[in-house]
Amino acid sequence: MKEMKFYGSALPGIEIEPYPGKLIVIEGTDGVGRSTHVALLRTWLESAGYAVLDTGMTRSVLAGRGIKNARTGHTLGRLTLQLYYATDFADRLENQILPALRAGFVVLTDRYIYSAIARGVVRGADPEWIRKIYGIALVPDAVFYLRMPSAEALARRVLATGRGFDYWESGMDLGLANDYYDSFIAYQKLLLKEFDRMSGEYGFHKIDASRPIKRIAAALRRSITPLIQEPPSQTGEAASPATVSPISRIPPPATPSAEPLSAEAELREKSA
C-alpha cells in the first residue's frame, strides 16, 4: 500500500488513504513510441495476471469530445486550450485513475501532467502558474521518459511511420515557421528543452527512445518488475492487516484491451 501524495493541495472530496495499485506514467514528445510501449506493457502485465487500466490525454468522458471538436477547427485560444486539458486531466484522475488505483489496478498512462505543462509553457503560460493548477495531480509511482536525442531524429521517426506531420504535433498554431517540417523541428526542440528541465524536477527515469523497440520494452519491464512486486507490508503501517493486499491478480479478461471503454465504464459504476 502506498500513501496518497499530491503535488499540491489534494482534490476536494477525495479520501486520502493508502492504495494498493500502481500509477506508471509513460512520457515523452510526439512520435517517440509511447502508445506502442503502453500496449506492450499492458499485454505483458495482463498475461502475468495484473489488472491494467490504460488512459491518456483527451480520453475523458467529460471533456474529451469537446477538446477534439475544438482542435479540429483550430479555434481555441491558447489559454482556453490549456485549461480544457486540465479539465480533461482532472476528470480522468477522479473517475478513472483513482478508482482503479484503489481497486488495485496497475494504471498505465500515456502522458500525464508533464506533457500538458510542457505544451503550456512553450505556448507562453507562466511555468509556475501551470504547475500550481496541476497541483491536484497524484505523484506517480514511476515516470518513464522516452527521449529521442534530437528533434531531427524524431522527425525521421514520424516520417518512417508513414503518417506525416500533424498540425498540432508540428506546433503550427505557434507560427514558428512557414512549413510543417521546419515548424515541427522548432516546436519539438522547445518541447525537448522543457522535458529535460522537468526530468530532474520530477525524477523521470530517462530511456533512450532511439534504441530498438524490443530493447526499450525490456528496459521498461526490468524497471517495472520491482515496482509491482514490492511487498505490501513495508509501507502499510497505517492500514490494518485486513485491508492490506498485494496488487490484485485478476485473470486477464477474455478479450484483453479490445474495448478499454467498457472497463472504464465499469470503474465509474463501482466508484459511484
Partner: protein, 229 residues
Amino acid sequence: MISYGYHRYPGRLFVVEGTDGSGKSTQLSLLYQWLKSEGYSVFFSEWNSSPLVKDTTRRAKRRRLFTPTTFSLLHATDFADRTERDIIPPLKAGAIVLADRYIYTAFARDVARGCDRAWVRDLYKFAVKPTAAFFFRAPLSVAIDRIASARPQLKFYEAGMDMDWSDDEEESFKIFQGKILDEYDSMKSEFGLTLIDATQPIHTQQRQMREIVSRYLKEKLKEKAAPEK
C-alpha cells in the same frame, strides 16, 4: 507569460456579482441602456457563454458528470475563452465591457464546494482586473424568496445537490447560498468589491452604480468621438 491582471488597456471593465436573486442582472442591463444612450461603445459578457465549451458544460450538467474540481476547471476554461474572445479585444479597442458574473462567482462557488481557496485564485490569475466590481448584497432570505418565486424548479448543480448537504432541494439550495454569501462577504476587502445594498429600490441602486461608473469614464471612450491620432 499569459496574465492580464495588470493591464493597461484603454477600455473599462465593470462587473456585477452577488448571489442568485440579488438583482444584479437587472442593474447591469439598466447600466447598459444608460451607457449606450450616452454614446459609449459597450459590450456585454456573460458567465457560461463560450460557444466552444458550452456543449461540454451542458452535457456534463445533464449527465451529472461534475466533481467540484472539474466543475471549477471547466468554468475556468469557459472563462478563459470569454477573456480571449470577448473581453480583451474590446478593452484593447477602448470600449466598455460589462460582465454579468466574473471570477468572484467562481471563487465563491468553488470554495463553497470545497475547492482550495488559494488554488482557485491561482487558477484565475490570467483574468483582467476589473475597473470596478459591484457586489449586490441581499440577505439570504430575500434572495431565496426571489428565486423561489421566479423559478419553480431548481437545477441540480444550482441547488448544490451534488454536495449531499441535504436530500431536500430547497434546503440544499439554502445551505449552498449561505456558504456562497459567506465567501462573498470575505472577498469584499480582499478584492475591494464595491458593496451595493440590494434591498434598496432598484432606481436607488442604479443611481449609486452610475455615480461610481461615471468616475471612470472619459469623453474619449465615446463612440462618436473623433478617432485618436
